[in-house]
């Protein structure tokens, strides 16, 4: 894991990202974690439970009144230290669909000094009655720090370059929905672009390798730094993935192509010669997509820089499931809020618990 977290990120917290909870017992079909921080400690049966629960949430979203009282009386606080529209709104809609009370705290990251003040904020939020804390922070590992203090459940809504677990879960759900047989096992999935700065890529590595996908990471060598070493060291918990700068090798016969946003603000320091050069060599165009299998899914976690990492006609093309990712995001987040509330109640799932 430490190989995936660049040094400068680890040093922000003094060490590499700490593990708050031990891996769960594997024999259970239930969700046993108190927090959702990343998917590295989540087992495949647990991910499948999330997928099944998401199916049920999709059914709720299709109702005339898409609201159920499952989390009535629970308070969900959204604490976003970093700009976000879709993730925050998605969590907010998810919590409201489950009848939770939602408190929104927007914090400008510049006004918050790291470390102690985060802990203070979390204590305050807890004192105000929050049962669940959804958090986004520019510093990798910040939600782990919050989880040490907070008595309820912490959901990581994205921390630095490190993890964005609900995005990876909704990506997996969207793939399973569209791939023949409803499974990504053995499917070639390509994540294309700025892997280095991508918490989406890192969480997807855990989810997709657990799902048995043939995972390829592709981008300029400067934006793959550290990942070759991670792959060579055995991959994610021994599960392999391939790292390449050859976009042709990556896209050939791919079943799914996920383009990542080029984060302009992170491109200082000579990582890319120019955006135009990036687009010329790694932009996802219709011609390049011809290399993939016909009907290959096109995905993007958003927000899009159309004409940079993805051509507009590809983003809105017939194979694009980008808007569906957004819809599924609400259902996946409902599932996670629900499962964490159940785990908070001290439970694990059982087939016979509905008597």
């Amino acid at each position: 894991m430490s190989l995936a977290v660049p040094d400068e990120v680890g040093s922000a917290l003094g060490t590499v990202v700490p593990s708050v909870e031990a891996a769960p017992e594997t024999q259970s079909t239930g969700w046993r974690h108190r927090h959702l921080l990343d998917l590295d400690v989540v087992t495949w049966p647990e991910i499948e439970l999330v997928m099944r629960t998401t199916d049920a949430m999709r059914e709720v979203l299709g109702r005339p009144i898409p609201r159920v009282p499952a989390l009535r009386g629970k308070s969900v606080t959204l604490l976003f230290y970093e700009a976000s529209t879709r993730t925050r709104v998605s969590f907010e809609v998810a919590a409201k669909n489950l009848s939770a009370d939602v408190v929104n705290i927007a914090v400008a990251s510049s006004s918050v000094s790291k470390g102690e003040s985060l802990v203070d904020t979390v204590r305050t939020v807890e004192a105000l009655g929050a049962d669940m804390l959804v958090m986004r922070h520019a510093v990798s590992g910040a939600p782990y720090l919050a989880a040490r203090t907070f008595a309820g459940s912490v959901l990581n809504g994205g921390d630095g370059w490190h993890a964005h677990p609900t995005q990876a879960l909704l990506d997996l759900y969207t793939m399973r929905e569209h791939l023949p047989g409803g499974s990504v096992a053995g499917r070639k999935v390509v994540i294309l672009g700025d892997i280095l700065h991508s918490r989406v890529a890192r969480s997807n590595i855990w989810a997709l390798t657990a799902a048995g996908a043939e995972l390829w990471l592709c981008g300029p060598a400067t934006l793959l730094r550290g990942f070759e070493a991670w792959a060579a060291a055995g991959g994610a918990a021994g599960r392999r993935f391939t790292v390449t700068s050859s976009i042709d090798d990556a896209l050939r016969d791919a079943d799914v192509v996920m383009a990542l946003r080029i984060q302009r603000e992170r491109m200082a320091g000579g990582l890319l010669p120019s955006l135009r050069e990036y687009t010329a060599r790694f932009g996802l165009t219709r011609e390049r997509l011809e290399l993939a299998k016909s009907g290959a899914l096109v995905m993007h976690p958003g927000p899009l820089n159309e004409g940079v990492e993805i051509a507009p006609d590809v983003a809105s093309g017939p194979n694009s499931v980008i808007t569906e990712q957004v819809t599924n995001g609400v259902a996946v987040r409902m599932a996670m809020l629900y499962l964490l509330a159940g785990a908070q109640a001290g439970g694990v799932a059982s087939e016979e618990s509905l008597r």
Binding site: T29, A56, E59, R67, Y338, G347, A349, S353, L354, R355
Partner: protein, 190 residues
């Protein structure tokens, strides 16, 4: 302690079959026909029961009654009480509920909380003309003012007992048994 953990059969497969047929007649009699009727089974064992009732009605009335499935997991009021996290089984109500007479079907009627949750769920889908309740076993100990319209068998029980319905569609055999639990293992679910 040897009296614990010995399941006792209280309904055989034949008794279940006869109860289903009788209830199916009662439902039609009460409705004075089949006009506007829909059957909705509560997940999990209420669903095959609803299908069996619909099958019996089809046999003697020659009319196919729509059958739906209702998962009340999200409507339970005891997420913080039950020691186990419910697994969602799914809801499928592929028809309009407005103005219909709904017969809810479930295997065991106990505290009434499941039925309360089911009625909460149903009113989110529309405004039925009436909601009725058919259960295979009524074991008493209601905690809410709810009663069944159609009952397969009334079974006096104590709270320390567990009533288990087995249906071939789920359990590979038909039968209802009752078992006395160790006091420490008595749960609040039901």
């Amino acid at each position: 302690m040897s009296s614990f953990g010995q399941p006792r059969l209280i309904m055989t497969a034949d008794e279940i079959r006869r109860a289903v047929v009788r209830i199916s007649h009662e439902i039609v009699e009460k409705q004075a026909g089949t006009e506007g009727l829909v059957l909705i089974g509560i997940q999990r064992r209420g669903v095959p029961l609803a299908r069996r009732l619909a099958g019996a009605i089809a046999e003697h009335e020659g009319v196919e009654i729509p059958v739906g499935a209702l998962d009340i997991t999200f409507y339970r009021d005891d997420l913080s009480l039950i020691a186990q996290q419910p697994v969602v089984k799914g809801t499928a109500l592929p028809f309009d509920l407005n103005g219909r007479t709904i017969v809810l079907a479930d295997d065991v009627l106990y505290t009434g909380r499941t039925i309360r949750a089911a009625m909460d769920a149903l009113v989110d889908f529309g405004r039925p003309q009436a909601i009725r309740l058919a259960v295979l076993v009524d074991r008493g100990h209601r905690e809410l003012p709810i009663r069944a319209d159609h009952v397969g068998k009334n079974v006096p029980t104590s709270r320390e007992e567990l009533v288990r319905v087995h249906l071939v569609e789920i359990d590979e055999e038909d039968g209802v048994d009752i078992e006395r639990l160790e006091p420490a293992t008595v749960g609040v679910a039901g």
